[in-house]
Symmetry: C2
Subunit: 315 residues, 2 copies
């Protein structure tokens, strides 16, 4: 099937059992798995020191693999953005290598697109998505199917249903039913909110106008999510997009002090401050079910009632 | 003594007892305390909705007080930065009103300086600094003395001792003993790292070159502190300063996964990436002992051996 190159550009792998399960799972699907020599290296909290991880990225770029896949995210790519050999990576993409990861990997995706215009895929990582322990080492069916589409060159869209929990939700979807949304965007871009926000003001954040911008995050309480979104808003970046799409925001801790201030408050406020659509519940985040989203690809966003659809050409 | 106006521009006051102790403490020093009508208002996690807090700021600006003092920080100013009446605030400063606070208040200080060039003071807040419960309602002596200097128009500097914990520390201070540091900076500026970082890329971050930039924070783990400092670094802002000064970083949670990566690692890395001095242990942060630091004032930074000194003209 496919030649998949496994490497660790960010956090050290502690879950060796998960790593093995992930490799076994991909091998059982018939893929040829090549493991970078420093995939399991550890230095402080990182998968090797900065130079080690930079070399791992360059080796992945020279591997000739169909797909490079990170073992895990964590924290590590932001530190080495100025030293990454973007040209080498973009050349590998031109030759047919796809790059996939998420979370901390967002920094790499954004920087590569900003520096070269090359597209990578926000999708699975080895351990979180294929190294699942329970039950019966089952991997999420949608994630696995979308991952398979990437390898077949058939990753061309993602659809989902918007939830109808509140009256405001229902009113919005009635609007979209009466007048379906149809947006043609210069680029679909986005990723982990904390990671992407940490690139604002730097040469590693792409300057995208007319895009569909999406975010997900984990472990950030609503006030932190709002503070980050406010930075995007006050930087004028959100108003230059055609739509904002929010994915899954997990482990978003609430405090007694919040007194009703929650993620829904954050979304309502964002909508009140923007004239462009703000959709929610994109199936992406630190959750089992993930669609595979190309960073930087021209895309269409359609919404008919509560049915949302993102479409793009396979990379 | 002084007319002090107490108001709540950010988080709701939950600690009513601390509030009362703080007011009593300042009154016992002979000050005339004026309490804003919405100082104890609560809406979700905020001290009233956005409009209520904006009006509280405007009332503080029109109070004619010698000093306006926040009850507490929390989260709330970032949300209302576009709506604040900066002209009214800067006019009050021109007429002799000083503005003081810290933490979330950093957003207000930075935005005001960016929009009008007016200076405010990073210093005490009512509850954390004057509402202390134990022991015997004692207030930190240094904080209280520095606060008194502000009211007397005698807040003109802050000195502290750099710690000699590691060999690298000692080597650095030997350098400064052999050749004392003497920096003339366009502005002393800084504050809470998370809050200030959330302004990068927006019109609310001052464009300061040749400054001394300082940071403090609480509840941020070393990797988050480093990610934020990396944003400043990659945005090119740090290299435009004459020195960086780090204050107290408290409740900085370490994880087993960190394996030796800690705040000291972050400082060492920052020093390796900058040609300008990076000093530490400024007595400011979420700690009892605070000096009072004017935001935006021209300043001198001196360092002789392990003795550091910041000097400025009283506002």
């Amino acid at each position: 099937m496919a030649h998949i190159y496994i490497y660790s550009p960010a956090g050290a792998v502690r879950d060796k059992a998960g790593f093995k399960r992930g490799v076994r799972r991909l091998e059982s699907q018939g893929h040829q798995i090549e493991i970078d020599k420093d995939a399991l290296t550890s230095h402080e909290r990182f998968a090797g020191d900065d130079e080690t991880r930079l070399q791992a990225i360059s080796r992945a770029a020279c591997s000739g693999a169909d797909l490079t896949l990170i073992t895990r995210g964590g924290y590590g790519l932001t530190r080495i953005l100025p030293q990454i050999n973007y040209k080498l990576v973009s050349q590998s993409i031109a030759k047919g290598t796809r790059w996939m990861g998420y979370s901390d990997f967002t920094a790499f995706q954004a920087a590569l697109f900003a520096q070269t215009g090359a597209s990578t895929i926000a999708g699975a990582s080895l351990i979180a998505d294929f190294g699942v322990a329970t039950p019966k080492e089952s991997v999420d069916e949608i994630t696995e199917a979308c991952f398979g589409d990437v390898l077949l060159g058939q990753n061309e869209g993602a659809g989902w249903t918007l939830p109808k929990r509140t009256q405001a939700d229902r009113a919005l979807y009635e609007q979209y039913a009466a007048k379906p949304l149809s947006i043609k965007a210069s680029s679909l871009w986005g990723g982990n909110l904390s990671v992407l926000t940490s690139l604002i003001g730097t040469p590693y954040l792409p300057q995208v106008a007319g895009g569909v911008l999406w975010f997900e995050d984990t472990g950030e309480s609503p006030f932190r999510i709002e503070r980050m979104l406010t930075q995007w808003l006050n930087a004028g970046i959100l108003a230059r997009q055609k739509a904002i799409v929010l994915g899954q925001f997990t482990e978003s801790k609430l405090y007694p002090h919040d007194r009703g201030f929650n993620f829904a408050s954050v979304v309502a406020r964002l909508r009140a401050q923007l004239k462009i659509p703000v959709l929610t519940h994109l199936p992406f985040g630190h959750v089992p079910t993930k669609v595979m989203l190309p960073f930087g690809a021209p895309a269409r966003l359609l919404c008919d009632g509560s049915d949302a659809l993102l479409l793009w050409d396979d990379l």
